[in-house]
């Protein structure tokens, strides 16, 4: 991820001198073994139980004491099923799915993040899947974790990710006839300027602010 400028309203004549500043913030990259904690055990078990491991897993990230497994979208259901059923993994609970929109990552703009919980082994991991904005399709995991039903509807509602195989993918929080997907980065926050004692306060998204 890169950021331009330290502060200022976008598009304005920022005279602070910081406007041209570009700095990148690398998100934590791929990790290598040993992963530490129970993470080696989880990855090994998955590798043993799943023949197409090397094809399905894009990368494994260990960051801030959490394991994130990045998975190719087409393989999501297979991996999910093994993670749930394999005795040494047994992630019997999926705590939903949340989306994230990275407009700068061409071809992988939309991410879906699945936090998993194993009651049997008292472990947590996270699955992450990236898909292109042009073809925002992802296989639904409702057939594996029924409780993901509403979470997938919410992620569809907010990000426009289409979960193929979902029993009834409709909007859940926004009205049925709403246009657009509000939590995408290209969807403006909206708001109106407020007048206060003669001065005008612009809406939050247009205020001069630090980045």
């Amino acid at each position: 991820m890169t950021q331009q400028g330290m502060f200022g309203a976008p598009g304005s004549g920022d005279t602070s001198g910081y406007g041209g500043l570009v700095h990148s913030n690398a998100t934590p990259g791929s990790s290598s073994r040993p992963f530490g904690s129970y993470f080696d055990d989880v990855v090994d078990s998955l590798e043993r139980a799943y023949p197409a491991f090397s094809d399905a897993i894009e990368k494994i990230v260990i960051d801030r004491g959490e394991l994130t497994i990045h998975i190719r979208a087409s393989r999501l259901q297979e991996v999910a099923k093994i993670l749930r059923d394999e005795a040494s993994l047994r992630f019997e609970m999926c705590l939903g799915v949340s989306g994230a929109h990275y407009p700068a990552e061409t071809g992988r703009e939309l991410h879906a993040i699945f936090p998993l919980l194993s009651l049997t082994h008292n472990r947590r991991i996270r699955l992450e899947v990236s898909i292109p904005d042009a073809n925002p399709h992802l296989p639904s995991v409702v057939s594996i974790w029924a409780g993901n039903n509403w979470h997938e509807r919410e992620t569809f509602d907010m990000f426009g990710i289409i979960f193929d195989g979902h029993p009834g993918l409709t909007r859940i929080l926004m009205p049925d006839d709403w246009a657009g997907h509000p939590q995408r980065k290209d969807y403006a926050l909206g708001g109106i300027p407020v007048e206060y004692k003669g001065a005008t306060v612009p809406p939050p998204s247009e205020r001069r602010a630090y980045r």
Partner: protein
């Protein structure tokens, strides 16, 4: 048949459809009675006294039996997750506290734990701040459970339970007001600690309230535990077993009512919960009554924890700051209550305006700009009164969150409505939904 604006009918391929939206009940009954079908779709809510907030239940009935139950939600969607992307990390607390408005301290703590994880300062949060967080959360658990019992009782016709519940909740809210200045939406827990230390004399007041609560909570217990009318409405109603709970991702009292002692405070402790003595309350019955018992006895366990917290807050080894030492993160302002309300303390103003230029710079930078959080993502979960409350945060390295997502237990658990209600009587729907205890502010966010 004359046209009735409140009970019109139209022919469809499925047969005659009667739409009833109000009006004289006798007319409605006459109208429906003219057909042999007993197939009725009832739209309960979103404005209905028994649906626990703006929840819309769509019930397909065959006589009094519920064939299908579906929920309609979204009536309280406020876009908090989106809005938080436009404020700095500290201001995020003020937003998330408004999600599940009956358990604000859990929202704040989950959010702050995730921010601290992103910052890598989890170990630097002062012990005193963690004790205060635990104390506020446990008091909050009591007040939340009290509302669950009060509204649940009211919906099933036990009005005394409602009166008792709200009476006791006032006592807890008085402590919130004493400590944070506000009864709800306090924005008290902050990344790195809490906004300010508890005021002088607070521990004494909390001790008094705890003993008062111990006495008063017995009232609700005596009123309803084993009460045959209450049992008739709740025993065996809203059944959901362990397999159902895991499939639907259900946590909290509903999961514990299946006999599984899954409580994040014990299984994955945070804020130092492993150092407190308390028991995880479970039931075996998988029904509304079991969940009710769990809430009743969990309040007792929470009082135990609060007592231990108060003891620690008074002991010398837990004296000290309530915010991280790191001046680049810790909120600089010390608040105090003046004659004109809550504001920056005079001492702090004197320091930044009179003695220390560095303090002034830090104050200015932190208040206007906020702190930067290294890029990455983190998930922090706490055991809220309704189950696992998870905060999934993503940072792009800036002063504002890139993405804030809350995995709210009410939102998830409400999915169990169909599993609990279908095949039962319509009156049992009320009991089942009350036992889920959804808070629509958290469901819709």
């Amino acid at each position: 048949m004359t046209f009735d604006p409140y009970a019109s009918s139209r022919e469809t391929t499925e047969g005659t459809i009667y739409s009833v939206t109000g009006g004289d009940w006798d007319d409605v009954v006459t109208e429906i009675g003219s057909t042999k079908e007993e197939h009725v779709v009832v739209n309960m809510g979103p404005q209905h006294p028994s649906t626990h907030g703006v929840l819309r239940l769509i019930l397909e009935l065959e006589g009094e039996t519920v064939n299908e139950a579906r929920c309609g939600i979204g009536y309280l969607h406020t876009g908090i997750e989106k809005n938080a992307e436009y404020r700095n990390w500290t201001q995020g607390v003020t937003f998330v506290t408004r999600m599940d408005y009956l358990s604000p301290f859990f929202n704040e703590t989950a959010y702050c734990l995730a921010v601290e994880k992103l910052l890598g300062i989890t170990d630097q949060v002062p012990a005193r701040a963690s004790v205060i967080r635990v104390m506020m959360m446990e008091l909050n658990r009591i007040s939340s459970h009290l509302v669950a019992l009060a509204t649940g009782g009211m919906e099933l016709g036990a009005l005394s339970a409602m009166i008792f519940g709200f009476r006791e909740r006032e006592l807890v809210l008085d402590i919130f007001e004493l400590v944070t200045g506000l009864r709800m939406n306090s924005a008290y827990v902050r990344p790195g600690g809490v906004a300010q230390d508890i005021p002088e004399g607070a521990t004494e007041k909390i001790r008094e309230t705890v003993s008062q609560l111990r006495k008063n909570l017995k009232d609700t217990e005596k009123l309803l535990v084993g009460n045959s009318i209450w049992l008739a409405r709740t025993d065996g109603v809203g059944y959901l077993d362990l397999a159902g709970c895991t499939a639907l991702g259900i946590t909290g009292p509903i999961l514990r009512s299946t006999g599984l002692p899954w409580d994040l405070r014990k299984t994955q402790p945070y804020c130092g919960y492993e150092t407190y003595e308390f028991d995880v309350v479970t039931a075996q019955s998988c029904d509304v009554y079991g969940r009710f018992l769990i809430r009743i006895y969990e309040m007792g366990q929470s009082l135990r924890i609060v007592e231990q917290c108060v003891e620690r807050l008074d002991s010398p080894e837990y004296q000290g700051p309530v915010m991280v030492e790191d001046k680049k993160i810790g909120w600089p302002a010390q608040l105090s209550l003046g004659s004109d309300g809550l504001g920056n303390s005079l001492e702090h103003i004197r320091e930044i305006m009179g003695t220390s230029m560095e303090s002034l710079i830090h104050h200015f930078k932190l208040v206007t700009e906020g702190f930067r959080v290294p890029a990455g993502q983190a998930y922090a979960a706490v055991e809220s009164p309704r189950g696992e409350l998870g905060a999934q945060l993503i940072s792009d390295g800036g002063t504002k969150p890139y993405r804030v997502h809350f995995r709210d237990p009410s939102f998830n658990n409400l999915q169990a409505t169909a599993a609990m209600c279908e095949g039962s009587q319509i009156a049992d729907v009320i009991a089942a939904v009350a036992s889920i205890d959804p808070v629509m502010g958290g469901v819709d966010r």
